[in-house]
């Protein structure tokens, strides 16, 4: 099966990210499964960006630590030459620009004089990246027509001139290889395998986790979205803002995260499906609001896109360090759901679940992801119209008209009391952050307190538990070795399972309420438990100990801002004898 690991690197502002995405899209359009991964710094220009793509004919899950083709837009980028996969792997760069010619093996280098070509073709300084893209396409033996289409779409809004310039440079890069390096191309494709365009069997989209959440929320009838910019959550806000007027919902950049969650709660109280998104630092400011939603029984969906902490930490990098934080934040005890999708496709599905559960149970639901899946693209199928249900747990005017006095917080068998919305006659009530009675009015009475706690927590939980997303078991179901992860790590584990099938595997997509019985039976009778997490202290392992009473035999942890790579998982398993 054909596959390719392609990487471009350069100083921020050189456009590595831009053409990387075009390459991803190109590969998807021509029939491949694609996943990409990018790295950049928390500064606007300068710094160093990389964009890596893995494209293959069979389904793939994550990029590799090795590449077949490295495009180095500057000299510094040659540090990645140590990640060339094998002796058919090449480096594409402008050899003229390299001062220290000893850092790489010249024979690996396909020299494309970006600057010279750029100048001769009348390109702008920042357009070298397009030349490089064209050259790399030639090298792998691809046809560029589809890429020309993509450029047309991408730059169409910027006018014909820009489009034409880009196409010209793309072709210049492409033709340079065909002219000067045809032998190299032949060599590369002979060794690497011949690229060819495939008719994909199904419709695929190339989207990020953030885009998936945004799209799904729109489909679910999002009525109000408020957020404050924060990397790596901002693109949810950006995307929703760009379409809000066409799709008729409110998007508000608020003055801070406190206003974001409080206004979303207000809008939800008034009847709109409401969401907010942020990263850990912004979530810290939302914690008080979370409890407000809980005690007033107002639905709210909160997306938390993790980056390494503590504090400002490493804003443009990834980790899974906020698990316990989102589970336990806000004073007091209340029911909440924490969903942990593993990739954009699951982001899309679980966002629907989030809105459904939140509205039905009138509770806060958190979607916890991380920078890695929030900003990386995966080619995936999107099932439209798998919408969970229509509105839930609302009372109708007809029903209100029928009853004597409406009791918003009366105790019910399910713990769920249908809510009225402002404007409805006879539906007046008080949504109260203080403990309250059936009408919402302040109450400090001990027995009322216990009724309300029981209603809000115990009763709802009993019913909720059966509606939580279940967790699939992968791999050899009879194996005595079990691997558990949550969220984005599924990608690397599944990729590693292409090589190593010595274990069975479960990825948790809902960590709270913890799926105790599922994990229990998954772990039943095993010899070894492996827990793998992208954090420092192993929070998931703690949860498993707490809820299932089982400590891991082996733990793989990493928290340097980079995702654990699937090769690291293979090594880890091997090191421990599996």
């Amino acid at each position: 099966m054909y596959d390719i690991d392609w990487k471009i690197a350069g100083v921020g502002g050189m456009g590595a990210m831009g053409v990387g995405l075009i390459f991803s899209k190109f590969m998807m359009r021509t029939g491949y499964w694609v996943v990409d991964y990018n790295e950049y710094n928390s500064i606007i220009k300068g710094g160093h960006n990389t964009f890596q793509v893995r494209a293959s004919l069979e389904v793939n899950y994550c990029v590799s630590s090795k590449v077949d083709l490295l495009i180095a837009l500057d000299e510094y980028s040659l540090i990645y030459s140590n990640s060339l996969k094998n002796d058919s792997s090449v480096i594409l760069c402008d050899w003229e620009l390299i001062k220290d010619k000893t850092v790489v093996d010249r024979s690996r280098v396909v020299d494309v004089p970006f600057s010279v070509i750029n100048k001769s073709e009348g390109g702008d300084e920042i357009m070298k990246n397009i030349i490089a893209l064209g050259a790399s396409l030639a090298l792998i033996g691809a046809d560029i027509d589809i890429c020309v289409d993509i450029l047309n779409e991408q730059f169409g809004k910027k006018g014909d001139l820009v489009v034409e310039k880009n196409i010209k440079l793309l072709k210049a890069g492409y033709n340079y290889i065909l002219g000067k390096y045809r032998n190299y191309m032949v060599l590369f494709t002979r060794k690497h395998g011949m690229y060819k365009t495939i008719e994909p069997s199904d419709k695929r989209y190339l989207i990020t986790g953030n885009e998936a959440i945004a799209l799904s929320s729109v489909e679910e009838g999002l009525g109000f979205f408020a957020a404050y910019p924060m990397t790596p959550a901002s693109s949810i806000l950006h995307y929703l803002a760009s379409i809000s007027s066409d799709y008729n919902f409110v998007v508000k950049q608020t003055e801070d995260e406190i206003a974001a969650i409080n206004s979303a709660i207000g809008a939800s109280f008034a009847g709109a499906r409401s969401m907010t998104s942020t990263s850990g630092g912004g979530f810290a400011l939302m914690t008080e609001g979370l409890g407000l939603a809980a005690i007033t029984e107002t639905p709210i969906v909160v997306c938390v896109v993790s980056r390494p902490g503590p504090s400002t930490g490493m804003p443009t990098w990834t980790d899974q360090g906020d698990l316990r934080f989102v589970m336990h934040s806000s004073q007091g005890e209340f029911l909440r759901v924490v969903l942990t999708p593993s990739d954009p496709e699951e982001c899309f599905r679980l966002t629907k679940v989030a809105f459904y559960l939140s509205e039905k149970y009138q509770i806060p639901v958190i979607i916890l992801t991380d920078k890695y899946i929030a900003e990386g693209h995966w080619s995936c199928r999107i099932d439209l119209n798998i919408t969970t249900a229509s509105r839930n747990s609302l009372i109708s005017q007809v029903a209100l008209d029928r009853i004597e006095t409406y009791e918003r917080y009366s105790d019910t068998p399910s713990g769920i009391t249908p809510r009225s919305l402002p404007g409805m006659k006879k539906g007046e009530y008080l949504a109260n952050s203080d403990e309250h009675d059936n009408y919402g009015i302040n109450s400090e009475d001990a027995s009322n307190r216990l009724v309300q706690l029981n209603k809000r927590y115990t009763k709802k939980l009993a019913r909720l538990i059966s509606e939580l997303p279940t967790n699939k078991i992968y791999g050899n179901k009879d194996s005595k070795n079990a691997v558990i992860t949550f969220g984005s790590l599924k990608n690397q584990v599944l990729e590693s399972m292409k090589t190593n099938t010595n274990f069975k595997y479960m990825n948790l997509r809902c960590v709270c309420p913890f799926p105790t019985s599922e994990v229990n039976s998954f772990l039943d009778g095993i010899d070894n438990l492996f827990v793998i997490e992208n954090n420092y202290i192993g929070q998931l392992a703690g949860l498993i100990r707490e809820y299932v009473g089982r400590a891991p035999n082996y733990q793989l942890l990493k928290d340097d801002g980079r995702p654990i790579q699937y090769e690291e998982i293979l090594d880890f398993m091997k090191k421990n004898g599996y």
Binding site: Y205, V218, E255, G423, G427, N432, N442
Partner: protein, 284 residues
């Protein structure tokens, strides 16, 4: 409308003589005179003695977090055209912990009415200094007198471009009722600062204190549409204290500016499951 229709089963628990009674009655009176039925008004309360009032007014009520009444109110109003939105907050909530939201609400100009119960003290937490306490005010937290200049709420509102800035006194009921009616009728963010003596903790800014100092702008030849005049008038907060509308002009509201989205279309049970097919084409 009968003003008692705005009562709940719960009687007010404020200290006897508290200025909050006046505001409570004034608000019910204003609503009844404007014939705004209980289900047609949403009142968002801060936490404080003022906020305890949430249990005494029948309406769609929201008693939220301390200092966060404005964001909640904005969220409600931006999706629901169907209700008047009123914010009732203490001076601590509005001008202390929540002053950031106040600044942004002024410049945002969503169609809501904000009433500050300005007792210049933290009532519910038993009498600490508030940002509105006069410089030198002594309390448990500033036993030698507060060192900061006090916040001037009306000046702050003006400098944040609020289009309706006014001041009332809970000891002048009829005047306050009129002010509330003007504020509620104003299209945009209307701000009413109400002096509300705290008989238990604030022994400086008492009923007598205000009774002696207040006068009504309506009874002078003051014009309410002159911004610079308002900036100067707003500084009067010593021996003479103006009551009434300091400033009132027409401004485009936030909702008017965002006509491209119909803000209240998302509340019906039917609009779940939008078709996003077209949106997906970008990601092909």
């Amino acid at each position: 409308m009968d003003i008692n229709s705005y009562n709940t089963y719960k009687k007010p628990t404020w200290c006897p003589g508290c200025g909050n009674f006046g505001i409570w009655i004034a608000l019910k009176t204003a609503l009844s005179q404007l014939e705004i039925e209980t289900h047609k008004v949403t009142i968002v309360f801060d936490v404080g003695c003022s906020g305890n009032g949430s249990s005494f007014i029948k309406c769609y009520g929201f008693h939220g977090l301390h200092g966060r009444s404005l964001p909640v109110a904005m969220g409600i109003k931006l999706v629901c055209d169907n209700t008047k939105v009123i914010i009732m907050s203490g001076d601590g909530g509005a001008l202390g912990i929540g002053v950031g939201h106040f600044i942004h609400a002024c410049r945002r100009n969503v169609d809501m009415t904000m009433i500050i119960h300005d007792n210049q003290v933290y009532g519910l937490t038993t009498g600490q200094t508030s940002p509105a306490s006069e410089k030198g005010y002594k309390s448990k937290t500033t036993p030698l007198g507060v060192l900061e200049e006090s916040v001037n709420p009306v000046l702050l509102a003006l400098s944040s471009k609020c289009g309706f800035v006014s001041q009332g006194f809970s000891g002048q009921m009829n005047h306050l009722v009129d002010l509330m009616k003007s504020g509620i009728n104003y299209k945009g963010f209307a701000f009413i600062n109400v002096f509300q003596p705290c008989v238990t903790y604030n022994h400086v800014n008492t009923f007598e204190y205000f009774q002696k100092r207040v006068y009504k702008l309506e009874e002078t030849d003051y014009k309410t549409d002159d911004y610079n005049a308002a900036l100067i008038k707003a500084q009067e907060c010593g021996d003479k204290i103006p009551l009434g509308i300091l400033y009132s002009v027409e401004r485009e509201t936030y909702e008017e500016g965002s006509v491209y989205t119909d803000l209240s279309k998302n509340l019906s049970p039917d609009n779940i499951n939008r078709n996003i097919f077209e949106l997906l084409s970008e990601f092909e």
